[in-house]
Symmetry: C2
Subunit: 157 residues, 2 copies
């Protein structure tokens, strides 16, 4: 099997596809963090605090890996050491799992707030909560795609 080398895997670390995925993750998680935390009192709900914490973890992780991708693309030598790949896969899996959990929890809490607290949840606030949860779902999706590509590459070596 001639993986690696000349033909880069579609979304494995060190390829342009991976860079795109990482940039998307960073953008969506930043948007989620901003929609949730700027001008909205998010800290009275556990699920929203969890979402903010997790998005604060996803942003540095994605930015670091985006920088590694840029470096690999410019130097022309993708960093495909199995040990590093393994750490990346484990980190991606864990972060995508917790960001999915945070997005689901926030969505469920928003639904409950809309259902029972029509007066407590003004359209302006609830609309921003919903946007934030949607961005978190998009960020989770891109992170899961990255994790799958890297895992497939690692498993098929």
């Amino acid at each position: 099997m001639d993986h690696g080398g000349g033909r880069a895997g579609a979304g494995t670390i060190g390829s342009a596809g991976s860079l795109g995925l990482r940039v998307g993750q960073a953008v969506f998680s930043s948007a989620s963090l901003l929609f949730m935390s700027v001008g909205v009192e998010f800290f009275s709900y556990t699920a929203f605090c969890f979402l903010v914490t997790i998005m604060g973890l996803v942003i540095p992780w994605s930015c670091t890996l985006a920088m590694i991708d840029v470096y690999s693309i410019f130097m022309g030598c993708p960093l495909r050491v199995p040990g590093v790949m393994f750490i990346v896969v484990v980190g991606d899996c864990v972060l995508s799992l917790v960001s999915f959990a945070a997005a689901c929890s926030s969505a469920a809490v928003i639904d409950l707030l809309l259902q029972f607290h029509g007066s407590h949840c003004s359209p302006r606030f609830c609309g921003r909560y919903q946007l934030s949860a949607m961005m978190a779902f998009l960020s989770w999706f891109l992170m899961a795609v990255s994790a799958l590509f890297n895992f497939w590459f690692l498993a098929s070596r």
Copy 2:
């Protein structure tokens, strides 16, 4: 590579490990369904309805695959056709994802109920909701383990 044949993979379909995982999934998801639906008015919360629906899908899936495992063990010929494995992996992934989403949503809603509705959520009801969410998490974990084993086997062929 000599996968399959004599040495069965630890948790891939048709092995004793897989049978154990499937039985665990069926038991935990049945427990979650019963704790949530018997004698508790779950239908006023969207997240709890979602949990009940998903657990109602997980039970027949796990039971069917447990029967296939029993058949394979008794006949001594594990069913490791790539097409069938692919369907099993996709089904496991989708079901584990939605059962995780249901468990997270229920946990977030229970947390909010305990925080703001101390009077609406009697200890008897909320304790059962919590037990149900815990069982759903256990069922998700076992299903994710099954999915990982089968995916690894499929990817390393």
